[in-house]
Subunit: 365 residues, 2 copies
């Protein structure tokens, strides 16, 4: 029984000497385990485990010996093994789409940051489509025993929601609401935001007002539109045009251009409320670059989100700000509350206030 000679597989130069040589295989060094540390320190595995469990009862001397041994061996606890016995992975699944809209990278950054602070990690999934395999992929993520799952701007099938609920894993919808039982929700005051935009535009004297939706079935877009329309109605002004930008910058640009090209100039909108900044950039490109219109003199534009690019010199977009930082904080706080073992994990619905940021794409009031 001789070992095959294989020079191309590097033998690590630091195989722990305290491990049985029985395997004898080449390959990477097996990591040092809790048992190794126990042996080295001359204590039980329980003792080692306890010294790495905050709040567990270990004697001062035991702890010291363990720590010293662990240090000498370069011991790193295996989070996977811990997960298997505690049933807590300290991972949360984050599902996100539309990373081209800067709102979401920002959210990812803030959420991971906060979660990391609490000792949690992010298992990421990018799901472009809400299509059929969205569910299957969610199920995949659940196999990793995530402690919770947050869905950013994505619909959740009610079947999956029920599944999570039964399994006791909290789910939070971020920047979207849904009529699904048992899920938490963190969103902005979207209706209020729509109202803010409408009132502002009305006060500037705009009367030929247009709205661009994101996706017709997205709650976020619907709510913004509802608030916007209600305010318009209250003022007695009808909508001049409405279109759908699919949350895509390119689509928004094309749709805008087509709308103008198909209409007589004297019927052109003099103001736009666009369901998010990302599409508003496309609208502005159509207006200024393609149609050679002057903004805000010929036509005003208000977006939603206040992503970083809205402040860039090339756009200076007036917009309704979503406070993503507060939204992220609320999400994590809510999660921590639900992770608390002696807290009944009631789903919560939180809504964060919005504010209008005045910049250069509107006339001012």
């Amino acid at each position: 029984m001789t070992e095959p000679l294989n020079n191309s597989v590097p033998v690590p130069d630091d195989v722990s000497l305290n491990r049985s040589a029985a395997g004898g295989s080449s390959g990477p060094a097996a990591a040092t385990t809790l048992a190794d540390v126990a042996r080295e320190a001359g204590v039980s595995t329980s003792a080692v485990s306890r010294t790495f469990t905050p709040g567990a009862s270990v004697g001062k001397k035991t702890r010291a010996r363990v720590l010293e041994a662990a240090n000498r061996l370069g011991y790193r606890p295996n989070a996977i093994a811990r997960t298997l016995s505690t049933r807590k992975s300290r991972m949360v699944g984050l599902v996100v789409s539309y990373l081209d809209n800067q709102f979401y990278p920002t959210v990812i950054e803030q959420l991971s940051h906060l979660l990391q602070q609490h000792g949690y990690h992010v298992l990421l999934f990018i799901g472009r489509d809400n299509g059929p395999d969205m569910d299957s992929v969610l199920l995949e993520i659940l196999q990793y025993q995530v402690d919770a799952i947050v869905l950013a701007s994505t619909m959740l099938s009610s079947g999956l929601a029920a599944h999570c609920r039964a399994a006791g894993i909290p789910v939070v919808l971020f920047n979207r609401t849904a009529p699904v039982a048992g899920v938490s929700t963190v969103a902005s005051a979207n209706e209020e935001g729509g109202r803010l935009a409408a009132d502002y535009l009305l006060r500037t004297g705009a009367r030929r007002i247009a709205f661009m939706a994101g996706l017709d079935d997205a709650s976020t877009s619907q709510e913004r539109e509802r608030g916007f329309m209600a305010a318009l109605q209250r003022a007695g002004v009808a909508l001049t045009a409405r279109c759908v930008g699919q949350y895509s910058l390119d689509e928004a640009r094309v749709v805008t251009r087509e709308l103008y090209e198909a209409a007589r100039p004297d019927t052109w909108p003099d103001a736009w409320f666009v369901a998010n900044d990302h599409m508003a950039f496309g609208v502005l490109d159509a207006l200024r670059t393609d149609l050679k219109l002057r903004v805000p003199d010929d036509v005003q534009v208000i977006g939603f989100d206040n992503v970083p690019q809205a402040a860039w010199g090339g756009y200076q977009l007036t917009t309704v700000e979503q406070d993503s930082w507060r939204m992220a904080q609320a999400t994590v706080a809510l999660l921590m509350r639900q992770f608390d073992p002696n807290h009944p994990a009631h789903p919560e619905q939180v809504v964060i206030p919005v504010t209008l940021i005045e910049r250069a794409t509107t006339l001012g009031v």
Copy 2:
């Protein structure tokens, strides 16, 4: 020994009936396990495991019975338990910073997409600083037994690299190179890109040329500068100005403004090469919005990356394109090669070609 009555803890309505009632505790239903399925199907756990292991030998009838039982019970394999016994988590750690530069969200999206296709998942870490706790956090991510780790635009301490190497976990540096042994590297032909930018600018007749670096110790920025300077030197033109934008848009804008304000107008640069697009937007804002200069007539600008915003109407930035999709593909291909058990996991260095995209911030040649 009566159970405490606690109405606030919901009792799930679908506790599996086939599980022992011994525990009797309330709380979420325990997920059905492989053992449950084995019992239900009247076979061994090995049989169940095998029917869920592609390529394992199971009888047709056994497989059918197992599948049927699994289906009836709604069985979902526990990836954590599998990881513990196979020592393969099918998770890769992705460390990223600067999510405000759209290049990285794009990379995250592409990388996750490809990885998902191969049955892998992304454990994400956002590490803003290369500071002291970067290492500790990397170590944390390693505790989750990731099969590999990819570092996007982040330095790697050589100590940590050695650690990974000893543990046999592949690490790949994405969009950065480093003189560390045993790590793979995926980057663009940065020097070539710098040369392209210089040659182009030179051909437009620019002679008072400036360069803005990202971070002085970032390999990417260094290489771009080196190629750029070499080409300038070859042409016998000296650099008019050099500054460092810290890979920050705001910093780039401030630094540019200050540079102009401190110099006599007749010594102002007539062309800029900026180490990435993200900073170039800041430079453009300074030039156009703050300094009221005309681009490209008064001053030309070339960036690097070709992020989506470079094509937006508000900027139309001429830039050296990095092919992030090919970079992502190369990364995943490289990883899959290293995961192949009968492949010696040699680190690789891959460099992807770049191309210059001409837009409206340069004069044309």
